[in-house]
């Protein structure tokens, strides 16, 4: 078990990639805080983790809200006393709109949630990691942050911003033994692409990658577990693309 007794917080941990990460962390021996806007679903993932024999708790959180994130951090420290691994998965994708039709509200909401969440969560947990001179932060960006996508300018900008944030934070906290990296998934078999595509469209897209496989949440979770482990102690400031070969940055 590569993460024995480490304490991990996974935002967006109730479903999709976040859920796969939370379960993977638990299987590797970590104590997991499943944090999600959907508190009930988070609880059921925490229950699943406990059934696997892992220590786990669930917390409802709005990652774009400063005081809500503070409460999440307090809950983590109350329950487990420390933080070793922070995985920022929570984020939004919709709505689909061309730049000229995109409302200010939708722009703000996407940037606030996808980028602001990284700021709030890291700001809460970095001091504790700094004090213990170790920590791992892994943020979900997206291949779309590298290559762009029409009608998703807000999402592309937010995910590119996550990569920039990760690099800057990596430079800030590197001397304290904390690594900060981003993972950029391609289109994965989750509910997210189904928000604006039919099932046939989603599956056709997922099957159109160079590798003859469909990108599953577990395919994204694996590299995140690697980055969280001791094996990745010398990796920081990187944005690794995981996409079955659909894009090579």
């Amino acid at each position: 078990m590569r993460l024995k007794d480490k304490v991990a917080v996974v935002t967006g941990g109730a479903q999709g990639i976040g859920q796969a990460v939370a379960l993977g962390m638990g299987r590797e021996g970590a104590k997991v805080v499943v944090a999600d806007l959907q508190a009930e679903k988070a609880q059921s993932v925490a229950n699943e983790l406990q059934a696997l024999g892992a220590e786990a708790s669930a917390v409802g959180v709005n990652v774009a809200n400063e005081s809500s994130v503070k409460r999440m951090a307090e809950s983590t420290f109350d329950r487990f006393g420390r933080i070793d691994i922070l995985v920022n998965v929570a984020g939004i994708y919709f709505p689909k709109a061309s730049v000229v039709d995109l409302s200010e509200e939708d722009w703000d909401r996407t940037i606030d949630i996808n980028v602001g969440s990284n700021f709030f969560c890291c700001r809460e947990f970095v001091p504790s990691m700094r004090a213990q001179k170790s920590g791992r932060i892994i943020s979900l960006a997206s291949g779309i942050g590298h290559y762009g996508m029409r009608q998703f300018s807000h999402y592309a900008a937010s995910k590119a911003a996550v990569m920039g944030f990760v690099k800057a934070l990596a430079r800030e906290v590197g001397p304290d033994g904390i690594t900060v990296n981003a993972i950029c998934p391609g289109s994965a078999n989750t509910s997210m692409p189904r928000q604006h595509r039919s099932e046939e469209e989603v599956m056709a897209r997922l099957r159109s990658t160079p590798l003859p496989r469909v990108l599953e949440p577990e395919d994204i979770a694996g590299p995140i577990l690697f980055l969280a482990s001791d094996a990745a102690a010398y990796i920081t400031g990187q944005s690794y693309d995981i996409n079955c070969g659909s894009y090579m940055f």
Partner: protein, 244 residues
């Protein structure tokens, strides 16, 4: 099983040892046959399965003979890690002879091509395989006084992407590892630990140069089921020195 070129060197030896520790049988190929033999001894002494052989990766006949022999002995090749390479020169472009330029480009880029050309068809027949090539952060940033080396390493990155696209339909993955400054025996012969500390450490967010084991973990990760959806990518392992 894994075939590892440059397996007698610092990074190659560490990668071989890491894979062997995970139960992978390794064939350590190196221009310096004695160095390969030494790594083999250490791995075998700790209970790993290893073979050693001398190989000049720029000699196409040698490459073909070795790959044919390895496939015959093991019945398959699951992993090819091309780690052989490097550069003996740091000097201005006008001081490079054509022969020296070719020497550097061939040791890095041509060697990688020749190895992949022989091994890829075997992996395609198996419908599985992992190819891991080795670039350098210089392949992205460039480096004064290392024009052929930086060019060759940039070439390896794009060669690997192209190869990944060619081999993907057969479930053969190809990725690149890009090390930053790493304390290998070869570089430590030329530069003292103190000189390296002064030159590099202030510029590296994680505050130190790499040790070969740091890189070995990435090579090993790229052989595991956890990296099954990754191909054509470049993995920089450099303590934050370069964040492309």
């Amino acid at each position: 099983m894994a075939l590892i070129t440059g397996g007698g060197g610092g990074i190659g030896g560490a990668a071989a040892a890491r894979m062997a520790a995970a139960g992978i049988a390794v064939v350590i190929a190196d221009y310096d046959g004695a160095a390969a033999e030494e790594v083999k001894k250490q791995i075998v002494a700790t209970g790993g399965k290893a073979d050693a052989l001398a190989l000049d990766v720029t000699a196409s006949r040698e490459v073909k003979a070795v790959v044919t022999d390895v496939e015959k002995r093991f019945g398959r090749i699951d992993i090819l890690a091309n780690i052989a390479g490097g550069s003996a020169y740091t000097k201005r472009i006008e001081e490079f002879t054509w022969a020296q330029w070719q020497e550097v480009v061939n040791a890095n880029l041509k060697g990688t091509f020749l190895m992949c050309r022989e091994v890829a068809p075997i992996m395609q027949r198996q419908k599985s395989g992992r190819i891991i090539n080795t670039a350098s952060n210089y392949g992205v940033t460039g480096s004064a006084l290392r024009t052929p080396y930086a060019a060759a390493k940039a070439g390896i990155i794009t060669f690997t992407k192209s190869l990944a696209l060619e081999l993907a339909p057969d479930n053969v993955l190809a990725n690149t590892v890009a090390p930053g400054p790493t304390d290998t025996p070869r570089v430590m012969e030329k530069e003292s630990a103190e000189a390296r500390r002064q030159r590099w450490w202030p510029n590296i967010p994680l505050g130190r140069t790499a040790v070969p084991a740091d890189l070995a973990e990435m090579y090993y990760f790229l052989t595991t089921p956890e990296s099954a959806a990754i191909t054509g990518q470049t993995f920089h392992v450099n303590g934050g020195l370069v964040m492309p």
